[in-house]
């Protein structure tokens, strides 16, 4: 897992593949649409059974989940549990669920020799609930595989927050 993780994280030396980047961009718009419309089970269906969903802490953005503290380190099972609770309303912090907008840009994609796709992109997620709006800027590093109805499947999704602290947000209760 750590090898795959490193390859998803490493900065590719060559320029991104323009055509592939455009294709991936549309996939990420689809991903964002499902999240914002709270179609979370459909969103979860984009993941491979060996997937990982990671959010490093704000003070260890390049952390290694084997050794460092993280905010999120979900495998398929934990992500399924996270999604279930968000859908059935037992994640009290999202019950009723907030209004979100996932903005995705700066999308770059590279085809790896093994056929998988490494991507980098920036995101800003707005979360509004009651009288507050929390803003979560950050970057995606993902490993995608070709396949599935949406054209790609997500094997690894690492969301690195561009925040020094999680204040005043206090939590990451939605999916980034």
């Amino acid at each position: 897992m750590s090898t795959r993780n490193e390859s998803a994280v490493a900065a590719p030396a060559q320029m991104a593949d323009a055509e592939l980047s455009r294709e991936v961009e549309l996939f990420l718009y689809h991903d964002a649409l499902l999240l914002d419309e709270w179609r979370l089970r459909e969103w979860f269906a984009l993941f491979t059974p060996d997937c990982e969903y990671l959010i490093p802490t704000t003070d260890r953005p390049d952390g290694d989940p084997e050794h460092d503290l993280f905010f999120v380190r979900d495998d398929w099972f934990l992500l399924s549990q996270r999604v279930d609770a968000l859908v059935d309303g037992t994640a009290w912090t999202e019950s009723p669920h907030s209004i979100t907008k996932h903005m995705v840009n700066n999308v770059m994609a590279w085809l790896d020799p093994d056929g998988s796709v490494a991507i980098r992109a920036n995101f800003v997620v707005y979360r509004s609930a009651l009288s507050t709006v929390d803003v979560y800027p950050g970057s995606y590093r993902m490993r995608l595989l070709r396949g599935g109805p949406a054209g790609f499947e997500i094997q690894s999704r690492r969301c690195t927050l561009a925040l020094a602290q999680l204040r005043p947000h206090g939590r990451v209760s939605v999916i980034l």
Partner: protein, 442 residues
């Protein structure tokens, strides 16, 4: 109107919600509580090497936590003695010198002023020793846990910690090589009064309802929850440790031995864990090992929680910025010598529960914030009720003894009201079993 009504006859215990919203009360808390308590600074493992440093806020003041060339732990006010600039703004780092960029004054990690541009302009009576980095009144350490006091007028740390020293031993004993805070911090906030987190950090009553989704996850993972919650021979119980500190904890039989409220260990992980347990039983006796391998939620007055519940130990401290807003810093404490499989499971269990994106903590944050919003009506709905278990002799983990212990000390500090302890206080007893609990180890 009193802040706390401690009615032993009915019995009934009530706390005024005004204490959560009133800015004048927060100012008094700063003077009567935070400036007169031992406050947690950090763990010695965070500054393993000479000249490692961490910066943080302790009791509302910026500090630098470091280790000098002689490996001595040092804490300084993070403010230049010259004109007050905060010297270091990085959260952590390493360096022999702490340099203020404003006018170029430099200090070593013992706090001495070692370089000052244009020193000759100060005249021949100028003495650098008068301009060392300012230190808190006292800094002391217990088993690697470093605390400071902003006043000299305070008992030594161990006396202050009272029975909490035993509980810290239960954490510190978990490695022969020593415990360590791993890299990375959970730096978050809660839009609620800080005292709500002292209550919530040892609140067994809310687990089944607030953490419903976490428990569903455990069940789906194949965990047999009936074993964890069986009130067998040794349920989690609540104890008054003196000086406002309290713990809920249990011996094996409360789901301990495996991973408590965490996901079950793999076969290999369990084998490693049992090996550790045998080793500690050999070193410290079966009763102590029994306690070590179960769980406990410790709250050290006023604002430190150390919790071992799911096999990943969290250490969290929090400070009020405003009556309805606190900053929380939390870390993960682990044995230095965990085998990789066990470490991986510890990490997974930790993150599944703890932290601002776990499957539990965000719901605590939500609960506390909703309480705070409810307190907006404190003038017409003035009281919180914290009476649970007051009528019974045996205080179990779903009772609220531990919160009453906190509030009685809080009230003593704020109003001078002395409240007699509700149960015998547990002083330092050494490496023995819990009182009132039967060991399930044959």
């Amino acid at each position: 109107m009193p802040y706390v009504i401690d009615d032993r006859e009915t019995p009934r215990f009530r706390v005024a919600r005004s204490t959560m919203v009133d800015a004048a009360i927060l100012e008094e808390e700063r003077r009567n509580i935070f400036d007169k308590s031992w406050l947690f600074v950090g763990h010695e493992s965070e500054i393993d090497n000479p000249h490692d440093f961490r910066t943080r806020n302790v009791g509302g003041r910026p500090i630098i936590f470091t280790r000098n060339a002689d490996r001595e732990v040092r804490v300084f006010v993070n403010s230049c003695p010259h004109r007050g600039m905060q010297i270091e703004t990085r959260g952590e780092g390493h360096g022999r010198f702490l340099k203020c960029f404003y006018h170029g004054w430099s200090f070593n990690t013992s706090g001495d002023l070692v370089a000052i541009p244009g020193e000759d302009s100060y005249g021949e009576n100028f003495d650098r020793h008068n301009l060392c980095l300012v230190r808190p009144a006292k800094v002391e350490s217990y088993r690697g846990f470093v605390f400071l006091s902003w006043t000299n007028d305070i008992a030594d740390l161990q006396t202050y910690l009272a029975g909490a020293t035993d509980i810290l031993d239960l954490f510190a004993d978990q490695s022969e090589l020593g415990m360590q805070i791993i890299g990375g911090s959970h730096l978050y906030s809660v839009q609620a009064n800080w005292k709500l987190l002292s209550e919530n950090s040892a609140d067994g009553y809310h687990a089944l309802t607030t953490h419903h989704r976490y428990l569903v996850m455990l069940k789906e993972s194949g965990k047999d929850l009936s074993k964890v919650f069986a009130a067998g021979p040794a349920p989690f119980m609540g104890y008054d440790l003196g000086n406002g500190h309290a713990v809920i904890g249990g011996a094996d039989g409360t789901g301990g031995g495996n991973s408590g409220l965490g996901r079950d260990l793999s076969g290999d992980g369990l084998l490693q864990q049992m090996k550790r347990r045998d080793r500690f039983a050999e070193l410290y006796g079966a009763d102590w090992a029994n306690r070590m391998f179960s769980g406990r939620n410790l709250v050290i007055f006023p604002n430190l929680a150390v919790i071992d519940l799911i096999m990943g130990i969290t250490l969290r401290t929090y400070y009020p910025v405003a009556p309805g807003y606190m900053e929380v810093s939390a870390w993960s404490l682990q044995p230095k010598d965990d085998d990789p499989e066990l470490r991986r499971m510890r990490q997974e269990n930790f993150l599944t529960f703890w932290g601002p994106a776990g499957l539990a903590t965000p719901d605590d944050v939500e609960a506390l914030q909703r309480c705070q919003r409810g307190f907006a009506a404190h003038d017409v709905a003035p009281w919180n009720d914290i009476s649970r278990g007051m009528a019974s002799e045996r205080k179990i983990f779903t009772d609220e003894l531990q919160m009453r212990v906190f509030w009685r000390e809080w009230d003593r500090r704020m109003t001078g009201t002395e409240h007699a302890p509700e149960t015998p206080q547990l002083g330092k007893r050494g490496r023995v079993g819990w009182p009132g609990q039967l060991s399930s180890t044959p």
